[in-house]
Structures are given as structure tokens and as C-alpha cells.
């Protein structure tokens, strides 16, 4: 199962707040795809997700997070 989250137009730190809450609703092994604006959101959300131990892949403005 996977989930999608469109956070375009959302500023930091609300981007990470919303991403974390969405990740909490998933089970380990499930994937969350987050669409983010360039700049601070696309720079900081992948970093925060990695710091929390998740596996992160970036494709353009989509950040794909595999929950650990």
C-alpha cells in the first residue's frame, strides 16, 4: 500500500509536520509519495525523513519515502 500527499504551496515546517503525521498512519514497508515545492521544502523534507531512519528517493518534485 502507498499514500500520496500534495504539499505544494505549503511552507516549512508545516511540510515536515504533515509528512510526519502521514507517515505515522502507515505501516513499516509502506510508501509515501510527497509532492513539494522547490527550495526549502524539497531540501529539508528528504533530509528530515532520512534523519528519522526512512529510505528516501527523490524524483523531481516528488519525494518517495519508504517507511521504516
Amino acid at each position: 500500500m502507498s499514500a500520496e500527499l500534495d504539499l505544494t504551496g505549503v511552507l516549512c515546517p508545516m511540510t515536515w509536520v504533515r509528512t510526519r503525521l502521514a507517515l505515522e498512519d502507515l505501516d513499516p514497508g509502506e510508501r509515501l509519495e510527497v509532492r513539494l515545492d522547490p527550495g526549502e521544502p524539497l531540501e529539508s523534507v528528504p533530509r528530515s525523513a532520512r534523519e528519522d531512519g526512512h529510505e528516501v528517493a527523490e524524483r523531481g518534485e516528488i519525494v518517495s519515502i519508504l517507511k521504516r
Partner: protein, 255 residues
């Protein structure tokens, strides 16, 4: 319980913390916390609990606001003189966070009223200023299995202890007998500096949030002593007493 957009924004600076979570926030939202006393310690305690989004905060106090309270009891204002403390605090706290159900209860906390007050609470925060009240609240919480945060402040010193009845040392385990009458001056006689109440009460508020949200390591079996004179803090280990009249027979509260 789903967080609204406004709640996400309001609580965003705690929701982004690695130690916090949506689950922690929901635990706060579902909690009913009794704040016993809205004076020196109750000011930071009630303010931070309401700010953080504890769902239901009950304020209990029988006093009215006096001019000599205001240097440390900053939840009240000069315009509130003569008003019941629970009413002036409730007005201020509802203005701070209308999402929280703030319930004022003008009642004296004593050995007679304590059992009824703590029944059904998620947590009790004792912000009273007398030894008699502390023992009464401690005993009622132990009997009901309700977690409790105790604290005291006087002059330039203070202490904080969290209690999970049946699992950690209670106030009576740490202090089996009250000090002899007259040995410890009351707040009225000894005085207190406003920031000391803020520091001790803020620690108490932090303990309350940790216990309700199940985050971090509360001061269980550890008494925090704070000395403002030289800005030092000391942790003193305390243990359950097998013969404690308050908590020895309390079964560990189910988690």
C-alpha cells in the same frame, strides 16, 4: 481524533520535534488534567498545558486574586483583584487556546474533597502550597491510581517529583512525615521570587506533558531539587517504601 488545519499550525512547533508525534498530540487531546491551585505554580502549569493542547483542563482553587499574588501569579491581572482565581485564569486561558475545554472549579482542595477531585482524571498536577494539601492529594491519587506531579517552591528553591502510584515512589515515600509545625515557613512568611515559581512550575508542566503524551523519561523515583541561588539542579533518588501507608498496597496502574 483528527487534527484540524488550525490545530496542525497551532501545535506545529511541538509536532516537528523528533520526540513528539501525532500520537503524542492525540494523547494530550484526549486527556483530562486536574490543576490543583492556580497560583504561583499553577500559572505556568495551566498556561503550558492549555497552550500544548491538553483536551480538558480543570482548574481548582478557592482563593481570590490579591495584589500580593501578582509578582509571581502572572496568569492573573491587576484588573482581576477580588475575582476568583479560577475565573480570571479560565478567561485568560480560553483566550490563549479556545480549542481546550477549560473548567473552573471554585473549591478548596483538602482531605475531604481530594478523592472526588482526582477520580477520573488522566493526571493530577498539585500546585497547592501546603503540606496538608500535598499529603491529601498524594493519598487520593494513590488510592485512585491516578498519576501525579508534585512540586513545591519557596524563596530561591524548589523541588519536583512525578508519581505513578504502585510503580514509583509517592510523595509520602519521599517525605514520610510532614515537617513539624512552624519548621518550614509558608510562602507568605518566607516569600518567593517570581521566576523561581516559573522555573519550578515549568518543570512541573513539562513532567505533566511527558506523562500524558508518554514521551521522554519522567521524574519517577527521582526527586529534582532546584536551587536558584547558584542555579544548580540536583537529582536525588527516592524509593517506594514497602510500609508506605499511601501506596504500599496499590497495585501497579495498568498502562
Amino acid at each position: 481524533m483528527t487534527l484540524t488545519g488550525a490545530e496542525l499550525e497551532r501545535y506545529s512547533r511541538q509536532l516537528v520535534m523528533a520526540e513528539w508525534s501525532g500520537t503524542a498530540q492525540r494523547r494530550l487531546g484526549e486527556a483530562r488534567v486536574m490543576v490543583l491551585g492556580v497560583g504561583a505554580l499553577g500559572t505556568p502549569v495551566a498556561t503550558y498545558l492549555v497552550g500544548a493542547g491538553v483536551g480538558h483542563v480543570v482548574l481548582v482553587d478557592s482563593d481570590v486574586v490579591e495584589l500580593s499574588n501578582l509578582h509571581r501569579q502572572t496568569v492573573h491581572s491587576t484588573g482581576d483583584l477580588g475575582t476568583a482565581k479560577v475565573e480570571s485564569a479560565a478567561a485568560r486561558l480560553r483566550a490563549l487556546n479556545p480549542e481546550v475545554h477549560v473548567e473552573p472549579l471554585r473549591l478548596r482542595v483538602d482531605v475531604r474533597t481530594a478523592p472526588g477531585l482526582v477520580a477520573g482524571a488522566s493526571l493530577v498536577v498539585d500546585c497547592s502550597d501546603s503540606f496538608d494539601t500535598r499529603y491529601a492529594v498524594n493519598d487520593a491519587c494513590c488510592a485512585a491510581g491516578v498519576p501525579l506531579v508534585e512540586a513545591g517552591v519557596l524563596g530561591l528553591g524548589g523541588l519536583v517529583l512525578s508519581i505513578r502510584p504502585g510503580r514509583s515512589a509517592c510523595y509520602r515515600c519521599a517525605f514520610p512525615t510532614p515537617p513539624p509545625a512552624g519548621a518550614v515557613p509558608s510562602c507568605r512568611e518566607a516569600g518567593v521570587l517570581g521566576p523561581m515559581a516559573g522555573i519550578v512550575g515549568s518543570h512541573q508542566a513539562l513532567e505533566a506533558l511527558k506523562l500524558v503524551a508518554e514521551v521522554g523519561e519522567p521524574l519517577l523515583d527521582r526527586l529534582l531539587q532546584i536551587e536558584g541561588r547558584d542555579a544548580t539542579q540536583t537529582i536525588v533518588s527516592v524509593r517506594r517504601r514497602p510500609d508506605c501507608p499511601a501506596c504500599a498496597r496499590v497495585a501497579a496502574a495498568a498502562q
